[in-house]
């Protein structure tokens, strides 16, 4: 009898696709992050703090306009001040601080990456969690306001469609950009509290320093270093807010935000793929 050596072959098992596997990572992490009390509180307050003033502004604008449709520029309100930015910073820190740091701390990242997913899949799903939570205050209040205003007849269909599209576009840009920042800073440590503090402090200090240098030097270009200022500039441009005085260039601001987002995402990928942890 001849002995034959075994030959191994990879079998094609029936399993769900990549999208389903990413969804599983998203779902469990969204549940973990989104169910935290502080995240829920700030998401609800952030929504109310954005929605009510915006609704009142649209209503007043329509009233003062003698019943004609409110202008598109009225919808730029959330990007005029710092209230939305404060909630974005808080949620980025609270939801994003531990998004990778917790997995590094508990080493559960090993369990993820020993599954049939890539590091890119892991990061995309994790980033989507932070983006979805930020979207609760960066996108939802705006689009809800537009829909309500349209239903109540405060805006015509053209303005409503434009405002809807801008909220969606700028909102997605905002959530992706801040998720990218959170992901990167979270990947630098295995302690979520440090990561959260770092995200909040860095975003706040960056904006304050950019404002101070710009004010002292009289050169608005310094404001490009603040992602919030860049996003505000892009939003103002798309909402057709009239420019008074020196302002940032919307195209440059957009390029800075996109560059920052891509750069930090790439840096996070490189950081995790070359992670050198001696676990023994």
């Amino acid at each position: 009898m001849a002995l034959s050596s075994p030959r191994y072959a990879l079998e094609d098992e029936t399993r769900l696709g990549r999208r389903d596997r990413l969804w599983a990572i998203f779902a469990i992490n969204f549940r973990l992050r989104g169910s935290r009390t502080l995240v829920t509180i700030f998401a609800v307050i952030g929504f109310i703090a954005t929605f009510i003033p915006l609704m009142v502004t649209v209503f007043t604008s329509q009233l003062l306009g003698g019943g004609s449709s409110a202008a598109l520029s009225v919808f730029a309100l959330p990007y005029n001040g710092f209230l939305l930015f404060i909630f974005i910073m808080l949620l980025s820190a609270l939801a994003g601080g531990g998004i990778i740091a917790d997995d590094l701390g508990s080493k559960s990242i090993s369990l993820y990456l020993s599954r049939p997913i890539t590091l890119g899949d892991y990061l995309a799903a994790k980033g989507a969690v932070v983006a979805a939570i930020l979207g609760l205050i960066a996108i939802v209040p705006g689009v809800v306001t537009v829909l309500v205003a349209f239903v109540l007849g405060y805006v015509n269909v053209t303005v409503a469609a434009e405002a809807f599209a801008v909220y969606l576009g700028v909102g997605i840009l905002l959530t992706v950009a801040f998720s990218s920042i959170a992901l990167f800073l979270s990947s630098l440590t295995d302690r979520s509290a440090w990561a959260a503090a770092g995200i909040f402090a860095l975003l706040l200090m960056d904006d304050i320093i950019a404002g101070i240098i710009s004010g002292v030097s009289g050169n608005v270009s310094w404001l490009y270093m603040s992602p919030w200022e860049d996003l505000g500039c892009v939003a103002h441009y798309l909402f057709s807010v009239p420019v008074t005085g020196p302002a940032l260039n919307a195209a440059v601001a957009l390029a800075v935000v996109v560059g920052l987002t891509i750069g930090l995402a790439a840096a996070t990928y490189v950081r995790l793929s070359s992670m050198e942890l001696v676990t023994e």
Binding site: S5, P6, R7, Y8, A9, L10, E11, E13, R15, L16, G17, D20, R21, A24, I25, A27, I28, L32, S106, K107, S108, I109, S110, L111, Y112, L113, S114, R115, P116, I117, T118, S273, E276, L277, V278, T279, E280
Partner: protein, 307 residues
Amino acid sequence: MIDPVVHAINASKRYGEVLGLNGFTASFGPGITGLVGPNGAGKSTLFRVVTGQLKLDAGQITILGKDAWNTQSKNRLIGFCPDHPGMYDWMNPVQFVGTLLLIDGFAPEDAALRTRRSLETVEMWEFRDRVIRTFSKGMRQRVKVAQAIAHEPKVLFLDEPLNGMDPVGRVSLLELFRKLASAGTHLIVSSHVLHEVERLTSQIVMISNGRALAEGDLHKIRDLLDQYPHTIEIETSTPRALAKILADHPDVTSIKFSAPDRITVQTSVPDTFYQDLPEVALKEGINIMGVRSLDDSLEAVFRFLSR
């Protein structure tokens, strides 16, 4: 010629100045293979490489003929039980194993079925409603094993799987590993405790400082060791009297008083010495409370092999 399940050729992985793997060359499997080595030998690094979490700086490691790095489809066929906690301890075991199965790509119904089956296998189904943070180390270990076997992998990597287990739990897990192996799963089990691995398999790969020192049958390796001086510690109420007698024994090369009630003896012929010792003690009326081979420790074996 039987194809190895895992085959490493000159695999090297550097952590800055530290070499995790240093030209590691060895073959594992089929069946159960023990990966033994002291702490810091490179066992976990090797497991992180074979599960596709680390990329080698040089060399190659294949699993079932596929490159370990960047072959995601390969991860469908492997199960990994890490040595660290690595768990979402706010979940109960059903949620934990079920979630990982979803990430594996199983449909929710299939995942639920497999979750139950794997938790029953490790005897944790009855604790399914308790959150993991309330579990003992041994119970957590069982849950980790459950997630590793739930998708019925072809190759199972178990990194120090018996750590923290109570004696009864150890026996049942060892039994489970044997059953998995007899059902066709290939197991690679790491441990720094030699006798733990011995109870499971005689096929071992010894690793130290990132290099494979020896591979093959453990008993043959032990026989090799028998050609060299062995150190034996003897606990006795009369160490001086025993030392005086043993000094005349032809196979004893040195004697030391290691403690008030202990002497350490070196012999080049351990088998003869072990045979003679009870006779000598009986004849001279010496009370021997314990005999321990210091060379049984894995570190001693490695010290010898590293020479």
